[in-house]
Amino acid sequence: MPTPPPSVDDVLSGLRGRCGEFDTSTFRGQTRVVLPEPVAFEGLAWLKDQGFDLLVDVTCVDYLDYPGATHRYGLVYLLASTATNQRLTVRVFVDDPDPTVTSVVPLWAGANWLEREVWDLFGIRSVGHPDPRRLVMPEEFTAHPLRKDYPLQGRGERHNFPVITRDHS
């Protein structure tokens, strides 16, 4: 008989021992943990050692005009375990004027492009990222289009793009 996997509650109490007190909530059977930004990397590293070895996604939500929100940006780290199939959502909240998080690329190589996308579309820097370029928007682009104060139609950036002629290409 294989040993039963540790329950999510056991993992969370262990995480409290390392990262101090934090909020947890459950919705539709999904457990969410809100880690303070300074200890987020340490907490994620510990969770990885506890068996949450698959980083499913890194994304972000801009809570600019969301009712009842206390922070501007909420990063989402979706973790899963390939052995036990448990899932855990880790939230990290950051605010203007300098929203930064510690890069998790040292833990999961797959975070590389996901964090680049968060930088590109939300303007949240990942400190320690090995390749901090934009992912989907062109390098000349100046805005972060998935922020809520960016209009759906854009701000006309495309008109200012440099035109490459055949002589200069």
């Binding site: 999904q30 070895d53 499913v56 989402v76 959502t89 989907v136 490459i164």
Partner: protein
Amino acid sequence: MSIATATVDTTGPETGARSEDYLWTLNFGPQHPATHTTLRLVLKLDGERVVDAMPEMGYLHSGFEKIGEHLTFNQYVTVTDRMNYISPMANNVAWHHAVETLLGIELTPRCTYIRTIIAELARISDHLLCNGAVGLDTGAFTFFLYGFYQREVIYDIFETLCGARFTNSYTRVGGLSQDFTPLVIEKIRTFLKTFPKTLDDMERLLTRNRIFVDRTKGVGVLSKAEAIAGSATGPVARASGVTRDLRKDEPYLAYADLDFNVCCATTGDCYARYLVRMQEMRESLKLVTQALENLPAGDINVGIDQRIARPTKEQVYSTIEGTISHFELSMANRGFEVPHEESYAAIEAPNGELGFYVVGDGNETAYRARCRPPSVLHFALFPQLIRGHTLSDVVAVLGSLNIIAAELDR
């Protein structure tokens, strides 16, 4: 543009500029027949040997996630069609699975079975194109045509079902746009009878073909540890020995009732990915057969009392609940209640884990509609797969990862 020369990652041993003078840079894409879609690779070559590769994406970026914040849950399904357009039905199912998870809707048994059937047909059509394209790029043109002919049959089934061949937009919140008709069931039965023979033919054409095996075996090897670290999912991860399949691990729709196997390989090369996809088509056939023969009777949409799915015309004209529900759902300031919450739900799409992180803020439009596309994470793995192989292997590796640029860039 200086990307090509300035930012290629050269973290190998001894990367002084002088020792690299003999390397040359090749731009592959964004418009190239073998990229199949709009993506770009900058390759650093030593003769024909690929020293490094830098994938570039974004040429097809259309702001799908931004659009998702301005379209209602039912309207946005048309945009999901255009993500992985090789298997749009799977995207439809994934999107409304995520929305229904947020809303906490329990689907009717008939709806779960129909969704299972169309998701599996979508898997077959996706794998046919992916494996067909790998064959095409490595020189097996006939194989590709065999696959494409069968895709046409699946398109025909979808057209009979919902009127659209390509952009189906078939699902709705809490149900489906159309029910199965006897003609659809007959066409699926015919497909189930004729397809195994074609699949046998395809396997005989390529699986033991010397040229194909030489081109794909041992090429683009992804180890199990690398697959997990790089967040690979779906056939790419399973070909590397990761036994993760959401259909078994987190059974959604009707998968808990049906009998099927998860197909895995251990070598992690292009050939293993081809084999896993070939075998998964047979498992999908098993699933479709079981689901079709056990298709429950009843409604396809959730009941009128839930005020989620549109009532039928008959209900609107003959019952007061139907009339009220129809008005409520049609009026701009009504619609249905959405919790101030957020949730993530994923399905096992043909390409891997396709999930949506949906944030609700009370109205019918998502506050945030994040799509977790498997292609992005697979494309990021490309440099480590191709290093050390030859230029002609680029198309084999690229094809076996099944990168769909529309899903990649969204």
